[in-house]
C-alpha cells in the first residue's frame, strides 16, 4: 500500500524523534506492541485514504445513531421491566394513578416521570432509532443512485439491506415494549396480519403470543429479540460491512486526477479520524438536542393497552408506514373461502407485494449486472444523470414507496385537507399504481436533459453574463470556457451501447440471450455520449 503525496509535494519526515513528555507514550506503545504487534495494523490502516463527499456521511449517521441507540438503550434496560404481569400504577403521573397495567407500562412511566434523565434517555433512544432507519434508507438511496453497489460491492449491498430490514424489526419490537395503547394496537395489527397468512398463520400467531392475543409473553419475548438477538446480529453485520469497506476501499466521484485505480482523499490519521470522530459527537449532540426539546411517543397520553379503546388518527413510526399503508390501499372484498379455508387476499397481497419490493431491492445489483453484462470493477461513483435508466428505476421505486407511505396517513390527509377518506384512498391507490410509471419517464427525461446541458457546457462553456457588441453592431453574450479540471467532471463517464445478440459456437441464439439483449437495449438505448476530444476541438475551432 503506497501512499504518495501529489503536487505540490509536501515534505514529511518519516521518523518523529520523541519530544519531551512523550516518554510515557513511548513506553505504553512499546508495552502494547511487544504483546500485540499492533504496529502492523496501524501501518496498514493508519494512513488509509477516505474520499470526501457530503453524501458519504449518510452511512456515518447510521453508524453513529446506532451507537447512540446502544448507549441510551443500555441505560433504559437498568430500569425497564419486560413483564406483562399486571400491577397497579402508583407512580407520579396523576392521570393514570391507581390504574391496572402491565409492569412494562408502569416501569416505562417510572422511567419517564420518576427517574431523573429517564425521559431524556427514552426520547434520545426513540429519536435515534427514527434517525437510524432514516439514515440507512438515505444511505441506500445514495448507493443506489450512484451505482456504488456494482462489482465488487454487491455483497456489501446485501449486508446493508439485511441491516435495513433488521433495523425496522428492532424499531418495531422496541416500539411494542412499553405495552401502551398505541403499540398494543400495532401488535394487534401484526397479529391480524399473521393470522391472515394461509395454513401457518393461526399457529404462528399462537406461538408468538404464547396463546391467544395479547397473552402475557409478547413483551418479554420481544425484549430478548430487541436487546439481545437483534443488536448482536446488527453488530456482527456492521463488522462485516466495515471490513468489506476496508477491503473494497471507498468509492469516489469522478474528478481531475481520480481514476478507477486510485483513491483520493484524506488519511484516517489525523484528518478523517478528527472529522468522523467529531461528526459522531455532532450526531449525538443533535439527537440529544431534539430529545431535550421535542416530545416523542408520549405513552402517558395513550394509557395502558386495552383491546377495546383506540384513538383516531393512529400512526405507526414512520418506517412502518409503508407496510401499514399497503394494508389500507386494498379495495373491499379481497377475501375468499375456498374448500372451507379462508384466503385473506386483503392481507396476503400486501404482504407479497412488500416482500417482492424488498426482494427486488436486495437483488437489484445482480439484475443490473446481468442485464448490462458488466463484469468489471467500479470504483468511480456514477452521477445519477449519467445512468438514466437506473435513476429512472430508482425514481419509480421511491414513488411506489412514497405512495404506500402516504397511504398510512390517508385519514390525516383527509381531515387536514377536508377531503373524503374514500377520495383520498382512491387518489393514493391510483398514484401508487401509476405514479411509478410517470416517475420513471419523468426522471429519465430529466437525466437526459441534464446530460445534454452538461454536454453543452463542456463544449461551449457557460454563459458569463457579459454582453459584447461586435463591430457589426451585433450583441452577443460571451461564453466562458471551463477549466479542464471542471470540464473533466462533466465528461468523464463511460459510454455504453446495448448488447448484441451473439450466437454460440453452434449458431444457436437462446431465448435467454434474446431477453437479455432486449433488456440491455431498454437499459442503454437512451443515453447521451460524453463529449469527445474531437468534439471539443471542433467546438473550439468555431469560436477562435
Amino acid at each position: 500500500m503506497t501512499v504518495e503525496i501529489h503536487h505540490p509535494v509536501k515534505e514529511t519526515t518519516d521518523t518523529v524523534p520523541p519530544g519531551p513528555g512523550m516518554r510515557l507514550t513511548n513506553w505504553a506503545a512499546n508495552y502494547v506492541e511487544d504483546r500485540t504487534s499492533l504496529s502492523g495494523f496501524v501501518k496498514e490502516l493508519g494512513r488509509k485514504i477516505f474520499p470526501d463527499h457530503w453524501s458519504f456521511m449518510l452511512g456515518e449517521v447510521a453508524l453513529y445513531s446506532f451507537i447512540v441507540i446502544l448507549l441510551s438503550g443500555t441505560f433504559l434496560t437498568f430500569f425497564f421491566q419486560a413483564s406483562m404481569a399486571e400491577v397497579t400504577y402508583e407512580g407520579s403521573y396523576p392521570a393514570l394513578k391507581g390504574l391496572d397495567m402491565s409492569a412494562a407500562m408502569a416501569s416505562t412511566l417510572d422511567i419517564s416521570f420518576d427517574i431523573r434523565g429517564g425521559l431524556l434517555m427514552r426520547q434520545i433512544h426513540h429519536w435515534a432509532a427514527l434517525l437510524f432507519v432514516a439514515s440507512i434508507g438515505l444511505h441506500m438511496l445514495r448507493i443506489f443512485f450512484t451505482g456504488a453497489f456494482r462489482k465488487p460491492r454487491e455483497i456489501n449491498w446485501i449486508v446493508g439491506f439485511l441491516m435495513f430490514v433488521l433495523a425496522m424489526l428492532e424499531g418495531f419490537t422496541g416500539y411494542s415494549l412499553p405495552d401502551d395503547l398505541l403499540s398494543g394496537n400495532g401488535l394487534r395489527i401484526i397479529d391480524g396480519l399473521i393470522k391472515g397468512i394461509p395454513i401457518v398463520g393461526t399457529w404462528t400467531s399462537y406461538l408468538i403470543f404464547g396463546g391467544e392475543f395479547p397473552g402475557n409473553d409478547a413483551v418479554g419475548r420481544f425484549y430478548s429479540v430487541h436487546i439481545l438477538l437483534g443488536p448482536a446480529i446488527l453488530v456482527a453485520l456492521i463488522g462485516v460491512h466495515l471490513i468489506l469497506l476496508i477491503v473494497n476501499k471507498h468509492t469516489q466521484f469522478a474528478g481531475p486526477g481520480r481514476t478507477e485505480n486510485n483513491v483520493v482523499g484524506v488519511p484516517i490519521l489525523p484528518v478523517f479520524a478528527a472529522k468522523a470522530g467529531g461528526f459522531f459527537f455532532l450526531v449525538f449532540g443533535v439527537i440529544t438536542l431534539v430529545a431535550a426539546t421535542v416530545t416523542i411517543n408520549p405513552i402517558w397520553n395513550y394509557g395502558p393497552y386495552d383491546p377495546s379503546p383506540i384513538s383516531a388518527g393512529t400512526q405507526p413510526d414512520w418506517y412502518i408506514g409503508f407496510a401499514d399503508g399497503a394494508l389500507r390501499l386494498i379495495p373491499s372484498g379481497w377475501e375468499f373461502v375456498i374448500w372451507g379455508y379462508t384466503l385473506s387476499l386483503n392481507i396476503l397481497v400486501p404482504v407479497i407485494v412488500l416482500g417482492l419490493f424488498l426482494v427486488v431491492v436486495a437483488i437489484y445489483p445482480f439484475v443490473e449486472a446481468w442485464i448490462t453484462g458488466d463484469k468489471r470493477e467500479h470504483h468511480i461513483a456514477d452521477r445519477p444523470r449519467n445512468a438514466p435508466t437506473r435513476t429512472a428505476i430508482g425514481a419509480a421505486g421511491v414513488t411506489f414507496y412514497a405512495g404506500l407511505w402516504a397511504a398510512a396517513s390517508s385519514d390525516l390527509i383527509a381531515t387536514h385537507f377536508k377531503l373524503t377518506i374514500e377520495g383520498v384512498t382512491l387518489g393514493i391507490q391510483i398514484a401508487t399504481v401509476l405514479g411509478p410509471f410517470a416517475a420513471y419517464f419523468i426522471a429519465k427525461r430529466i437525466c437526459i436533459g441534464l446530460q445534454k446541458k452538461d454536454r453543452e457546457i463542456a463544449l461551449h462553456g457557460y454563459e458569463s453574463g457579459r454582453i459584447v457588441r461586435l463591430p457589426g453592431g451585433e450583441y452577443v453574450e460571451v461564453h466562458e470556457q471551463l477549466s479542464e479540471y471542471d470540464r473533466w467532471k462533466l465528461v468523464s463517464f463511460d459510454d455504453y451501447t446495448p448488447l448484441m445478440i451473439r450466437p454460440d459456437k453452434r449458431g444457436r441464439i437462446t431465448v435467454t440471450q434474446r431477453v437479455r439483449a432486449a433488456l440491455s437495449r431498454w437499459f442503454y438505448e437512451d443515453r447521451i455520449a460524453p463529449v469527445s476530444k474531437g468534439e471539443i476541438e471542433a467546438a473550439h475551432g468555431e469560436h477562435h
Binding site: R188, P307, S332, T342, I421, P498
Partner: protein, 354 residues
C-alpha cells in the same frame, strides 16, 4: 455511438468461437476520449497562508472544547438543581430540558471543535492511494487452493465418503432439537376452538366498558353508543384475551332504519343492536361511530361498516360484516345475550370457516 460492424444494436449477428456466449459488455471505443487532466494545483486555505488566521482558528477550537466542558459540568449541575418533584410534571420537563441542553453542549462542543480543527488546521492536502483488484494475486490463490487440497488429502475428506456423508447427516440433524424445543412457546391446545368462542353466552348481561355496570334497555336512547363487555369479564383470569374477542358496540336505531335479514328478526331489541367491536380486517377496535350516517369507522385502516345494514362493509379493506351479537332483555329489563356470537369474531384466519 460507434458499433464495431456498423449494424443496429441488438440485431447484428456475429459469430464468436466460444461455446459460452460472450457477455458482450460493449463500452464504446475510447480512442477519442478526453484525457484525465491530472490533479489540480493545491489551493491553500487562509490559515495556511495567514499565521494570524491560524492562531484565530486554533483559539476557536480550544474555545469549543472549553464550551464542551462547561456543558458537561452544567448537565451534572442540572441533574441536581432540577430534581423531579413527585407529581410535578413541570419539574420533569425542566429536568429533561436542562439536563439535555447540558449534554448537548458537551457533545456539540467536542464535535464542532474536532471538525473545525480538521478542516482549518490539519494538513489540507489530498493524498492518493492506489487500488488493486479485489481478487488476490495468482500466487496467493494458487497457495489457497493448495492448502485446501492438502487439507483434503491429509484428512481424506472426499476419499472417505462414508465419514463425510455421515458427518453431513449428523450436522443436518443436530439443529433439529433446537427447533423442536420451541414448540412450547404456545400451549398444547389447538388455537382454533379458542378463536371461535367468546365469553358471551345465553343470559350473560351486557355491561359497560370498563366499569362492568349492567345496561338497561331503557338507558339506551336513540343515537347513543355504548361500549360493552360481558358481565364478569373484569373478574376473568384472561381479561385482555377475552376482551379482545368479546368487546361489543351497542347502538339504538329507529326500528324502521334497520334492515334485518331473515333469521335475525329477534337478534335486536326494539332497534337496539349489538355488533362485535373487533374489526374483521386485522382486529383493531372499530370505535368511531358516525351518528348521522350510522357508519362505524375503523381508525387503523379506514374500513367502514353500515350499522343499519347488519354492519356490512361499505368501504375499506375489510371483507366481512362485523358479527352481530343476538340480544334481548331479561325480566329486570337488563340487556342480555341470547347466545355467543354465531361466527368467529375479529380478523380472518385460515381455519375460520371450517
Amino acid at each position: 455511438m460507434s458499433q464495431q460492424d456498423g449494424a443496429d444494436p441488438g440485431t447484428a449477428v456475429e459469430r464468436v468461437e466460444s461455446e459460452v456466449p460472450s457477455t458482450g459488455i460493449a463500452v464504446v471505443d475510447e480512442s477519442d476520449r478526453l484525457e484525465n487532466p491530472g490533479f489540480p494545483p493545491f489551493r491553500p486555505r487562509i490559515s495556511d497562508v495567514d499565521p494570524e488566521k491560524d492562531r484565530q482558528n486554533s483559539r476557536r477550537v480550544s474555545w469549543l472544547f472549553l464550551a464542551s466542558i462547561v456543558g458537561s459540568v452544567f448537565a451534572i449541575v442540572a441533574y441536581i438543581v432540577f430534581p423531579i418533584e413527585l407529581g410535578n410534571l413541570g419539574s420533569v420537563r425542566l429536568n429533561t430540558l436542562f439536563l439535555g441542553l447540558g449534554i448537548t453542549l458537551g457533545l456539540l462542543g467536542i464535535g464542532f471543535g474536532a471538525v473545525h480543527w480538521s478542516k482549518t488546521l490539519m494538513d489540507g492536502h489530498d493524498l492518493v492511494e492506489s487500488r488493486h483488484p479485489t481478487r488476490g494475486s495468482d500466487a496467493t490463490r494458487a497457495r489457497a487452493a493448495e492448502i485446501f487440497t492438502l487439507g483434503n488429502e491429509e484428512s481424506g475428506f472426499t476419499r472417505r465418503k462414508m465419514i463425510r456423508n455421515t458427518l453431513i447427516g449428523a450436522l443436518v440433524v443436530s439443529p433439529l432439537p433446537a427447533v423442536v424445543i420451541f414448540r412450547d412457546l404456545a400451549p398444547a391446545a389447538d388455537p382454533v376452538p379458542l378463536l371461535k368462542h367468546t365469553l358471551w353466552a345465553e343470559g350473560v348481561r351486557l355491561t359497560r366498558d370498563p366499569s362492568g355496570v349492567p345496561i338497561r334497555a331503557s338507558d339506551v336512547t336513540l343515537g347513543s353508543v355504548f361500549h360493552v363487555i360481558p358481565e364478569g369479564l373484569n373478574e376473568s383470569e384472561d381479561r385482555l384475551e377475552e376482551k379482545a374477542k368479546a368487546a361489543v358496540l351497542l347502538v339504538r336505531l329507529r326500528p324502521g332504519d334497520l334492515n334485518v335479514s331473515p333469521g335475525r328478526e329477534d337478534w335486536n331489541f326494539r332497534g337496539i343492536v349489538a355488533y362485535s367491536k373487533i374489526c374483521t380486517h386485522v382486529g383493531c377496535p372499530v370505535a368511531l361511530y358516525e351518528q348521522q350516517t350510522h357508519h362505524l369507522l375503523c381508525p387503523c385502516h379506514q374500513s367502514q361498516f353500515d350499522m343499519t345494514n347488519q354492519a356490512k362493509v361499505i368501504f375499506g379493506p375489510a371483507k366481512r360484516p362485523l358479527p352481530q351479537l343476538p340480544i334481548t332483555v331479561d325480566d329486570e329489563g337488563y340487556l342480555i345475550a341470547r347466545s355467543d356470537f354465531l361466527e368467529p369474531v375479529g380478523p380472518s384466519f385460515w381455519e375460520r370457516s371450517l
